[in-house]
C-alpha cells in the first residue's frame, strides 16, 4: 500500500503519507473503494443465501405458522428438540448416520492413501498415467447414474455380478433386496467412485518429498517397503490428519444425496439417516412441520461443528497439524 518513492499519482493511490491518520475507514474507502464495489455482489449473495437461512433457524425454537411468518411465530423453547430425542426414530437415525459415516471414514481415506502409495512407486510413467486417468474417471459420474449402474450390476436375476457369482458355483445374492447390504454398498461404491480422486492429494504430497531422503535411504540399503513406512507415511501424515479432521467434521452429513438416491422401502431401516429423515417427514407429509424438521437439521449441524472443533483442537495439541 505504501509507496516507496515520491512519484505522485494522487488519484488512485492516495498515499496515506500526506494526510496520515485522518480516519481509518474513510481513508480505506478512498483508496480501495473499487475493491469494495467488486465485493458488493458476492457479499450480498452470502448474506442472503448463506446467512439468511441462519436467521430462519430461529423457527427451531418457535411454533412456526406460515401466516405468522418466521419472525411473528411464537417462541416455545426446546420443545421440538425434546420431541425428537424422545421419538422412536431418534435412536435409529442416529445409529444409521454414525455407522455409515464412521464406516466410510475408516475405509475410504485409507483406501485412497493405499492407492496413492502404490501409484507413487510405479516406475513406468505411461502405465502410471493410465492408472491415474482411469481411477479418477468414476468421480465424474453423477450420483444418480452411479446408483443406477450399481443397481444394474448387482441385480439378483440379471446383474453381471450375480452372473459371475453363479458361474463360480455359488448362489445368487440379493444385494439390493436385503437391507443389511445397504451399508456395504454405500461405502464400497464410494470407494469405487472416489478412491482415485481422493488419492490425488496424497500422490502430490508424496511427490513433494525431498528425493535426497529417499536416496540416502537407498544408499543405506532400505527396501521400498521400508521406505514407505519410514519416509513416505510419516511425511504425508500432516496431509492425512488435515483430511481426517475435515472428514470428522462431516460425520453428521453423510453423502446425503447418494443415500437419498439409494434409499427404497426395502432398505429404509438401514438407510434412514438424519438428513433423509428430515426430507422425508417434511416433503412426504401434507402438513409439514417446518419447525420440527429445522430443529432436527440444527441438531445435526451443531454436532458437526462441535466435532470438528474438538478434533481440530486435539490434533493441534497432539500433532501440530490443524485446520486453524
Amino acid at each position: 500500500m505504501s509507496k516507496s518513492n515520491g512519484i505522485d499519482t494522487e488519484d488512485i493511490v492516495a498515499t496515506g503519507k500526506s494526510k496520515k491518520k485522518r480516519n481509518g475507514f474513510l481513508n480505506e474507502m478512498h483508496i480501495n473503494w473499487q475493491l469494495y464495489v467488486m465485493l458488493i455482489l458476492p457479499v450480498a449473495y452470502l448474506l442472503i443465501f448463506a446467512y439468511g437461512p441462519m436467521l430462519g433457524i430461529q423457527i427451531a425454537f418457535k411454533d412456526y405458522k406460515m401466516a405468522e411468518g418466521i419472525w411473528g411465530s411464537k417462541w416455545i423453547g426446546f420443545d421440538h428438540f425434546i420431541r425428537f430425542f424422545k421419538s422412536m426414530q431418534f435412536p435409529l437415525v442416529m445409529k444409521n448416520t454414525l455407522f455409515l459415516s464412521l464406516y466410510n471414514l475408516l475405509i475410504s481415506t485409507p483406501m485412497a492413501l493405499f492407492l496413492a502409495v502404490c501409484v507413487n512407486y510405479l516406475t513406468n510413467a505411461k502405465y502410471k498415467k493410465t492408472v491415474q486417468m482411469i481411477t479418477y474417471a468414476p468421480h465424474f459420474i453423477s450420483v444418480v447414474i452411479m446408483v443406477a449402474i450399481m443397481n444394474q450390476m448387482l441385480a439378483t436375476r440379471t446383474g453381471i455380478v450375480n452372473n459371475i457369482i453363479e458361474l463360480l458355483g455359488f448362489t445368487r445374492i440379493e444385494f439390493l433386496g436385503k437391507a443389511q447390504y445397504f451399508r456395504h454398498l454405500y461405502v464400497w461404491s464410494g470407494v469405487w467412485q472416489e478412491a482415485g480422486w481422493n488419492s490425488i492429494i496424497y500422490i502430490s504430497a508424496l511427490a513433494g518429498i525431498d528425493p535426497q531422503i529417499h536416496e540416502a535411504a537407498i544408499v543405506d540399503g532400505a527396501t521400498k517397503i521400508r521406505r514407505i513406512f519410514s519416509i513416505d507415511l510419516p511425511s504425508i501424515m500432516p496431509t492425512f490428519i488435515i483430511l481426517m479432521i475435515m472428514n470428522v467434521g462431516r460425520i453428521m452429513n453423510v453423502g446425503f444425496t447418494k443415500v437419498f438416491a439409494m434409499q427404497n422401502t426395502l432398505n429404509k431401516t438401514y438407510s434412514e439417516v438424519i438428513e433423509t429423515y428430515v426430507y422425508n417427514i417434511t416433503f412426504t407429509s401434507g402438513l409439514p412441520n417446518y419447525s420440527y424438521t429445522t430443529a432436527i437439521g440444527l441438531f445435526n449441524s451443531v454436532i458437526g461443528v462441535i466435532l470438528i472443533t474438538v478434533v481440530n483442537g486435539l490434533s493441534r495439541k497432539l500433532t501440530e497439524s490443524s485446520l486453524w
Binding site: T9, I12, L46, M54, I134, I141, I160, K224, F283
Partner: protein, 301 residues
C-alpha cells in the same frame, strides 16, 4: 510427476516382488474402475434377450441400436438435455463471475477489512443452516419452481473461491500492480486486463468444477422444482432409473408385457450411456485441469 524413485539398474529381490505386487494391485484398481463402465456401454448396444441370458461379458452381443432409438425418441430425454445444458451454461457463468469478483479483492493484501470478510465466507463452510431453512428462504423469495432456484442458491462455492484466491495471491506479482498503478490503471481494469489473462488455468479449473456440478446436480432440482418442463436430465434419470417409471419410456414401442420387460433392461443401459456420454467424452482432455485444481486447493484448504 517429476520424481524418479526407481533405480532400474539393480532392484533388490524384495523390491522386485514389491514392484510386481503394486503393478498387480493397480491393475486390479483399473479393472474395477473401468469394467462397470465398459459393461454398461456394451450392454447398451446388445440384444435385450442376451443381457437377460447373461451373454454380455465384455463386448456387445448381437449388436443393435434399438435401445438408443427408443431413448432418443422419448421427448422427456430431450427436455432434460436442454434444461441441463441451460443450467450448466448459465449457472457456470454466474458462478465464475461471482467467484472471481469475490476472490480478487480478497487476494489483495492491502485490503484493510479483508480478514473479517474472509471469515464471513469461511464460516459458511463450517456451519450450514440446513435443508429446511434454505428451502423456506427459496420459497419466501418466490424462487420455488423457477429456473432461478437452480442458478442463484450456490452461486459461489467458498471452496472454489479459495482456490482462485490462492492462485491470485501466488501468481500475480505485487510489482505488476505497482507499475499498473503508476500508469493510472484502476482496480477494475487491472482485474480485467491483467489479472484475468494471467489466470486462464485457474479459471478453467473452476469453470470445469462448477460445470460438472451443475450437470450432475439432482437434489436441488428435486427439492425446488415441480414442473416437468424445468427438470434437468438427472431428475428424469432418477425418475426413470431409480423410481422405476421406465414403462413410460417403453410404452409406445412394444406390444406385449414380456417383450417390454426385456426392452426396459436395455433402455436403462442406453439411457445411462446417453446421459454420461458428454462428460466421459471430454474427460480425457480436461482431466489435467481437475487435477490441477486439487493441487491449488491443497496449498491452503
Amino acid at each position: 510427476m517429476r520424481k524418479k524413485n526407481g533405480h532400474p539398474v539393480s532392484d533388490s529381490f524384495p523390491d522386485k516382488v514389491f514392484n510386481v505386487t503394486i503393478t498387480i494391485i493397480t491393475f486390479i484398481f483399473i479393472i474395477l474402475c473401468a469394467y462397470p463402465l465398459i459393461y454398461v456401454v456394451s450392454a447398451s448396444f446388445s440384444d435385450p434377450m442376451d443381457i437377460f441370458a447373461g451373454k454380455v461379458w465384455l463386448l456387445p452381443s448381437s449388436p443393435t441400436l434399438k435401445g438408443y432409438k427408443t431413448v432418443l425418441d422419448y421427448p422427456d430425454v430431450w427436455i432434460g438435455y436442454g434444461n441441463s445444458v441451460f443450467y450448466t451454461v448459465f449457472g457456470t457463468l454466474i458462478n465464475v463471475f461471482m467467484t472471481v469478483l469475490a476472490a480478487y479483492p480478497l487476494s489483495r493484501k492491502d485490503l484493510k477489512y479483508r480478514k473479517p470478510i474472509i471469515m464471513l465466507f469461511t464460516f459458511t463452510m463450517l456451519f450450514n443452516a440446513g435443508m429446511i431453512p434454505n428451502y423456506l428462504l427459496v420459497r419466501d423469495l418466490h424462487l420455488l419452481n423457477t429456473r432461478w432456484a437452480l442458478l442463484i442458491p450456490g452461486a459461489i462455492s467458498v471452496y472454489n473461491m479459495i482456490i482462485v484466491r490462492t492462485f491470485f495471491m501466488s501468481n500475480i506479482p505485487d510489482e505488476l500492480l505497482e507499475s499498473a498503478r503508476l500508469d493510472g490503471c484502476s482496480d477494475f481494469r487491472f482485474l480485467l486486463n491483467i489479472v484475468l489473462p494471467l489466470s486462464g488455468a485457474v479459471i478453467a479449473v473452476i469453470t470445469l468444477y462448477y460445470a460438472v456440478g451443475h450437470w450432475n446436480q439432482y437434489f436441488n432440482a428435486v427439492l425446488y422444482l415441480t414442473d416437468k418442463n424445468t427438470y434437468p436430465l438427472q431428475v428424469f434419470l432418477r425418475n426413470i432409473l431409480l423410481e422405476n417409471s421406465i414403462n413410460d419410456l417403453s410404452a409406445g414401442s412394444v406390444a406385449n408385457e414380456s417383450e417390454r420387460t426385456y426392452l426396459n433392461e436395455l433402455l436403462k443401459y442406453s439411457l445411462i450411456v446417453v446421459a454420461s456420454a458428454p462428460l466421459l467424452a471430454v474427460y480425457p482432455f480436461i482431466q489435467k485441469y481437475f487435477v490441477k485444481g486439487v493441487m491449488i486447493g491443497a496449498v491452503k484448504g
